[in-house]
Amino acid sequence: MASVTGGPLVGHARSRPLSQRFRALLLRSEALRGYILLTPTLLVMFLLLVVPLCGMIAFSFFTQVYFDIDFTLTLKNYWSIIKPGAGNTYLGIPFPFETPVYTILLVKSLLMSLVATSVIVLMAYPMAYFIAFRATNHKFLWLVLITVPLWTSYLLRVFAWKVILGHNGVLNSGLISIGVIEEPLGFLLYNPAAVIITLTHAWLAFAILPIYVSLEKIDRSLLEAATDLGDSKLIRFLRVTLPLSLPGVISSALMVFIPTVGDYVTPAQVGGTSGIMIGTIIQRQFGAANNWPLGSALSIFMMLAVTAIVCLFLWGVGNDRIKARGA
């Protein structure tokens, strides 16, 4: 709705001769000014996102019949995801569904992504800290330096990792030449660990940037004040720096977690036969399996799961922050 009311106003706001009354209105109404600022973004979002999204929601209630779509509304697609049945166990957890493959792959993808995100954010924080507080004169240089490797194609970087971890790869050849092993190690590549390593390489720079941004804006006088009050470096970090940089950590975690859940390319490239993910199945519904309704339902299913985890995470972090403030 915002875009409808805000649209024409933008035109007015840009044209120079503003009526005095309009200006007064603008100054008075916080929300109105906010919406005007938001309008361009919301318009783009509305046209390119809301319309497709509504389409997807609608599609998830239809049925694919070969190349036709049966437009009768049905919950069949959702039911096929969670219909109880004999099921399987995965990682010792029972999945009592008739088609457990969807839920199992979802859990697998979420776990993989959680592990990757934790590793990446933990590795990113000290680097961001370094750029924000130590690299005083060369901040821009460092920022670009960490992104430049990403400008060579993703695919080439995956090849590079295969060369490092592979059968006759850098790591194996190195270990053999110094006599640690005799035969190439097979477990380096084509397994979940290789996926985590490759994802870390791909996303680390992405995770560093938001943390850096929020560390950068911390008021240095606060840190001095903490030192003056006799806080040790560690205490100062825990009481001042870390809480103040939390928005960046949160952004960074979300930025890595959310897209990697649906990633199906990296696992397919370096994950070996175990490299199938929920994203693989969804992608197949829009491709080879040609079942858009099921693909849509699975996408929504995945989105709900991710949203739930994100909310849980934000709620947990929020609680911590409140506690920290109270203390």
Partner: protein, 269 residues
């Protein structure tokens, strides 16, 4: 003493991270001089033929130019949209703010394949737009905007609002305030957002596949080349050139910047 130790430890870590990021990538130049179509050990022999092949492969170079055009455009548009939206969300008490932010984050959640197909339907069947680099750009803005927003919200959140109010009180108009107060405050975020959006667009291929007509971007070109492994070393040579050129440009920019800072110092003080 203690402080120096601390600095060193972090410094060592920073060097480790840079080595980690560059290590795999530096293999590319090595293999680009290897006389074999396969990126595998053992190395076969030295050759520069892949560079000749790259230089004469007009489709490859055209794809690179397309990618640069789209990437730079997307970085600017998505950062501008992200900045205005972040400012609106942070500075103004908006009803429905959480929902709006949630919505802007949504593209992160959607499978890229779905986004590609859905956008294609919207652009072709609703707007009857011909596919081109513009349509790829539109798709990329959609997926880059959440990144820009996340970064810029993190940057703007918690800044003292009174700075902007003071500027308005002192008679600056809204644009002047934005330009002289908000923008400088947001600058580190803006740079990060530009870098991220550019990088994302440069590497994206699923949306580019569906929204690209006859124009090919670099990742698309590389993916379609996978059918012909013999052509991959040319791509490798290109990757190496991109890497070396970027590093040279970045270092030059830094040198120029520092010169500028030094020469301008006396006039400031």
């Amino acid at each position: 003493m203690k402080r120096a130790m601390h600095l060193n430890l972090l410094g060592v870590y920073a060097i480790f991270i840079v080595a980690l990021l560059y290590g795999p990538v530096l293999l590319l130049p090595m293999f680009s001089f290897n006389d074999s179509i396969y990126i595998a050990f053992p190395l076969k022999g030295f050759t520069t033929k892949w560079y000749q092949e790259m230089a004469t492969n007009s489709a490859l170079l055209a794809a690179l130019m397309n990618s640069l055009k789209v990437g730079i455009g997307v970085a600017i548009v998505s950062t501008v949209l992200g900045l205005t939206a972040a400012k609106a969300v942070i500075r103004h008490r908006l009803p429905g703010k959480t929902q709006i932010v949630g919505m802007i984050m949504l593209p992160l959640l959607l499978p890229s394949l779905f986004l590609g197909i859905a956008l294609l339907i919207i652009l072709r069947k609703v707007f009857s737009v011909d596919l081109s680099l513009w349509t790829i750009g539109a798709g990329h803005v959609l997926i880059c905007m959440p990144f820009s927003m996340l970064i810029l919200i993190a940057r703007l959140e918690g800044f003292d609002k009174s700075l902007e109010e003071a500027s308005l009180d002192l008679g600056e108009n809204a644009w002047g305030t934005f330009w002289h107060v908000t923008f400088p405050l947001a600058l580190p975020g803006v740079i990060s957002s530009l870098l991220l959006s550019f990088t994302t667009s440069l590497d994206e291929f699923v949306i580019a596949f569906f929204l690209g007509g006859n124009d090919t971007t670099l990742p698309l070109f590389i993916w379609s080349q996978l059918r012909f492994p013999a052509k991959l070393p040319g791509v490798l040579a290109l990757g190496s050139c991109i890497l070396v050129l970027s590093i040279v440009i970045v270092v030059l920019a830094e040198v120029v910047r520092r010169r500028g800072v030094q020469s301008s110092k006396p006039t400031v003080f």
